[in-house]
């Protein structure tokens, strides 16, 4: 017993002894590590001593000697031309005043004196400060860009008083028709951090700007060109003394667009005459070339090239007319009656009606199975009487389309109209085009979690309800109507001129024709659309055309407001933003169309009273210009 106790005490003492040993060992080994670390730091310090004291003279001399430095030479960006060779972009040689802080002792004091020689206001000062923040200490800061010749002359004389300051040449992107083409050409602006992650570092290391919107963005890879490379002997401050090796950059390709600047200008002027917010798009139905794409009001793309000032940006962003919004490409509007020709084609194709089938319009429509539910009114409350496919287009009778729409059903409507490009991107060569909406049952279940009602079909039949289209899509389907079912993808680019390999014409992919079972359908609908403009009862008969040939068209009036009391209000009785959108689509000349045009005016009232006259003025002027 006592022996066992003794062992246990012994054990305990052993434990304690052992713990003590471990502690001592830990102390000792920690000390060894500390000694190791201190000697390591001494090794590093003696290395620094060797470099900075013993060999200081050698390294100081080497630091002051000239060295070889590699530089990337940025290529000159390709230019953009309209179909008649008018330059829509330019690279203007301009002169910037720069300062290098590493070479200038008192640059802050000198900056204050700058305005004695050149313009240097608060705006310029804030741009300068912004640039200063971004640059490293030894990088050049742009004090002011775009010096005038006069300013260069005045400043050059006293440049010697400003050590570290320099006037250097550079290319500036300029858009001669900045406001007219802003929504097509877009603009370039400074490369940001996010761009840098995706860009080829070698190609872009000398480039400051990148295509941000429009054609400039879409064809960035063609416009940019190929960077050059230079090895040069430089002084310790980086000034080039001798070029050792140089590979010249290859400028970007020049692009020729199908855009007709004259037509673009005509549309902009006609829209702005009455200060309409809206858009006009023109396509050549023979090949899909986009002749004009204009969104009113526009903005000057040149404002964005050198970094837009806060004042300008806030003005544009807060503008009630939304200048920055590209209505032609992103505005999604109910197409209203402009879809009726396609609806008639669908009905004829599926044998829902024949060309001579008559449907009686009494001013309203009731769904046959639900006689007691609400009535769907025709815009003409007194009724149109007996309507055929042809007269229903000429007079834009709603009841006719309620009836055939009900018979077709939403799926057949969807499938047929989808061939005309509704509800999907047209594939135009501009970034971020909107799709509009061409609804069917699946679409509604997905987006509204509700099942499809028969009333939705009725509304869709006259281009209201869920259906929306962009002005580009309006012009696209009009072009298809004008070409009687032949489809060409809308596009701008017609020619690429590479500085070395020469001119190429991009191939357009071919699209299949629209299927139509009724052999007389195209002619029938075409004649109806001609009579919309020329017939005695046509909805656009008052559009005041002054042309030697006939044109085809269709009006549309899209409600922005539902009339609960079943009585439509007059235009002046409604608030501005609740007024109807006016639409007119047309192709001309009717028999051999060379242009398909869509005009959309926000809150302008009826298509026949507002949009058709604007379209008429555009066409009158366009064909007069074409003749000359």
């Amino acid at each position: 017993m006592s022996a066992r106790k003794k062992t246990s005490i012994n054990n305990n003492q052993n434990e304690i002894q052992r713990d003590k040993n471990i502690q001592i060992s830990f102390y000792r080994r920690t000390l060894i590590i500390i000694i190791g670390i201190i000697s390591g730091i001494l090794v590093l310090f003696s290395r620094a001593y060797y470099l900075q004291i013993t060999r200081h003279d050698y390294y100081r001399t080497r630091s002051q000697k000239n060295r070889v430095k590699s530089q990337v030479i940025p290529p000159i960006r390709g230019n953009i031309f309209d179909r008649n060779g008018i330059a829509l972009s330019e690279n203007i040689l301009s002169y910037d005043l720069i300062v290098n802080r590493a070479k200038s002792q008192k640059y802050e004091q000198l900056i204050e004196k700058i305005n004695q020689y050149i313009r240097f206001n608060d705006d310029d000062l804030s741009k300068y400060n912004l640039d200063k923040r971004k640059k490293l200490f030894n990088q050049d800061i742009i004090v002011r860009s775009d010096l005038s010749q006069e300013e260069i002359n005045t400043f050059s004389v006293d440049l010697y008083k400003f050590p570290g300051f320099e006037i250097v040449p550079s290319y500036k992107r300029h858009y001669p028709y900045g406001t007219l083409t802003a929504h097509v050409i877009g603009y370039i602006n400074n490369i940001n951090k996010k761009d840098k992650k995706t860009l080829d570092q070698r190609e872009y290391s000398g480039t400051l700007k990148i295509g941000r919107t429009g054609i400039e963005k879409e064809y960035e890879s063609l416009l940019h060109g190929q960077a050059g490379f230079r090895q040069a002997e430089v002084t310790k401050t980086g000034r080039i003394i001798r070029i050792l090796d140089q590979i010249d950059p290859i400028p970007g390709s020049d692009l020729t667009l199908s855009l007709d600047l004259t037509l673009q200008k005509i549309i902009s002027e006609e829209l702005e005459k009455n200060e309409f917010n809206g858009a006009g798009v023109a396509i050549d139905p023979r090949n899909g070339e986009v002749l004009a794409l204009y969104s009113n009001p526009s903005f000057d793309a040149n404002l964005f090239v050198n970094g837009i000032s806060h004042k300008d940006y806030n003005f544009l962003r807060n503008s009630p007319r939304k200048n920055l919004f590209n209505r032609a490409l992103h505005g999604q509007y109910a197409p209203a009656s402009t879809i009726k020709p396609m609806m008639a084609l669908a009905a004829l194709h599926h044998y829902v009606v024949s060309a001579s089938t008559r449907i009686n319009c009494r001013g309203y429509y009731r769904i046959p199975e639900y006689k007691k539910t609400k009535r769907f009114f025709c815009w003409k409350r007194s009724g149109h009487g007996n309507m055929t496919a042809r007269s229903s287009i000429i007079q834009s009778c709603d009841v006719y389309y309620y009836t055939v729409g009900k018979e077709l059903g939403i799926q057949r409507i969807h499938d047929y109209l989808a061939q005309f490009g509704l509800g999907k991107k047209t594939g135009i060569d501009l970034p971020n085009e909107s799709t509009g909406i061409l609804p069917d049952k699946k679409w509604k279940e997905k987006n509204y979690k509700k099942s499809w009602f028969i009333g939705d079909t009725i509304n869709a039949s006259i281009g209201q309800g869920y259906v929306t289209t962009t002005p580009l899509q309006l012009a696209y389907f009009t072009a298809i109507l004008g070409a009687r079912g032949k489809r060409y993808k809308p596009h701008f680019l017609t020619k690429i001129t590479h500085p070395i390999s020469g001119t190429t014409v991009p191939q357009q992919q071919t699209l299949s024709d629209i299927i139509q079972n009724n052999p007389k359908a195209w002619k029938n609908i075409h004649n109806a659309m001609v009579d919309v403009v020329s017939g005695t009862r046509g909805t656009a008969r008052k559009m005041l055309l002054n042309l030697p040939f006939k044109i085809a068209g269709k009006t549309g009036t899209a409600q922005n407001f539902s009339f609960r009391n079943e009585k439509r209000l007059k235009k002046h009785e409604l608030k501005q933003h609740l007024r109807d959108n006016a639409l007119f689509v047309t192709y001309a000349p009717a028999d051999e169309p060379v242009i398909a045009l869509s005009i959309l005016l926000e809150n302008a009232g009826g298509g026949s009273e507002s949009a058709a006259p604007v379209a008429a003025k555009v066409l009158n002027r366009y064909f007069r210009e074409r003749k000359e």
Binding site: T30, I34, R47, A48, Q52, R133, K134, L136
Partner: protein, 338 residues
């Protein structure tokens, strides 16, 4: 800043002298970064310092027991991540180190440096020291598995670091001197073998470049030559704040791995003396705290983490001043991004 975590008390403990030292280094770093990288880089670096300090404060409140308890979980998780890298990792420059977890990319080998000391310290906590043969073998296995996985990526630099974080803990745990000396001899003897069979060509080139940077002055040797010119031209006093022409104009990565060259050029040998003293004081203070600790878990973990901290410092400064190959380890507390 793990050294603050394992305190000698059970409740949280913040060591003010250590905090002041670290903040001093952060301030110096910000000043250097301003002249090397401009305002924006300095500001984003300061934001990261802020985040670091916040994380540190949070870690302070984690009880020691919880850290010990979660060590095996953490270790297994690290192994799982390393295996995942092997299977589905992102391949950058022919080595598979990154794991894309949706939000961001992570490099599990960085976690391994923490996981091994944690696991080992936890292992020895319940066992008698000095470790028995059996314990040593288990410990070596604990080190070998993640090291092998990192080596397979391949990432030699990190693998050496991962392995040494475990080895230094074994050393502190008190393995016999015979074993230490024996394995050191073995290590030295295997270097030629390793050179001819284990190393990739680019790794050999890096070592050769240290021995003679002028071999390829515009290629592999460029960074080393330029950084040595930068340091050497600094002299005793340095060129002064924002006057570093050499490092700014001719040294790539002057805001990341080579920032020490910018510092040396502008602040000279005097600046280096101050900076080294600060790092030495941090290390000494940490060891002082370690010696006060009562249990093996805290002591071993803390001791090995301080050593890793030193290794980072030593390899970075050694590489920038041209006595070690370029392996891309950062200067601790000086910058945190590539």
């Amino acid at each position: 800043m793990p050294n603050l975590v394992i305190s000698n008390r059970n409740r949280f403990y913040l060591d003010i002298p250590l905090l002041i030292l670290i903040i001093c280094i952060m301030c110096i770093s910000s000043v250097v970064l301003y002249s090397a990288g401009g305002v924006d880089k300095t500001l984003s670096q300061m934001v990261r310092f802020g985040i670091g300090l916040v994380v540190m404060s949070v870690v302070l409140f984690i009880p020691k027991g919880l850290i010990r308890f979660s060590a095996p979980i953490f270790y297994l998780l690290t192994i799982a991540l390393l295996v995942a890298v092997e299977l589905v990792g992102v391949n950058v420059n022919n080595s598979q180190r990154w794991l894309d977890i949706g939000v961001t990319k992570i490099q599990p080998s960085e976690i391994a440096k923490l996981a091994i000391p944690l696991m080992l310290a936890n292992y020895f906590y319940v066992r008698k020291l000095p470790p028995s043969w059996k314990d040593i073998i288990v410990a070596l296995a604990i080190i070998a598995v993640p090291t092998g996985l990192v080596l397979k990526q391949p990432d030699l630099g990190t693998a050496i670091l991962v392995a040494s974080s475990g080895c230094i803990l074994l050393f502190l745990a008190g393995i016999s001197w015979r074993l230490i000396i024996g394995s050191l001899i073995l290590l030295v003897a295997s270097i030629p073998l390793f050179w001819f069979y284990g190393m990739k060509d680019y790794q050999k080139t890096r070592v050769m470049t240290v021995l003679n940077p002028e071999r390829d002055p515009l290629g592999d040797g460029y960074n080393i030559i330029q950084s040595q010119i930068a340091i050497g031209s600094g002299g005793v006093h340095g060129k002064g704040f924002n006057q570093g022409v050499q490092s700014a104009e001719f040294l790539p990565e002057n805001t990341t791995d080579f920032i020490f060259a910018v510092f040396s050029e502008e602040w000279g040998l005097l600046g280096i003396a101050v900076l080294f003293t600060l790092y030495l004081l941090i290390i000494l203070r940490c060891f002082q705290l370690t010696l006060k600790m009562s249990d093996n878990f805290s002591r071993l973990l803390s001791g090995s983490l301080i050593f890793i901290f030193f290794i980072y410092f030593f390899i970075n400064v050694g590489m920038v001043s041209g006595i070690l190959p370029v392996v891309g380890l950062p200067l601790p507390h000086f910058y945190s991004t590539r």
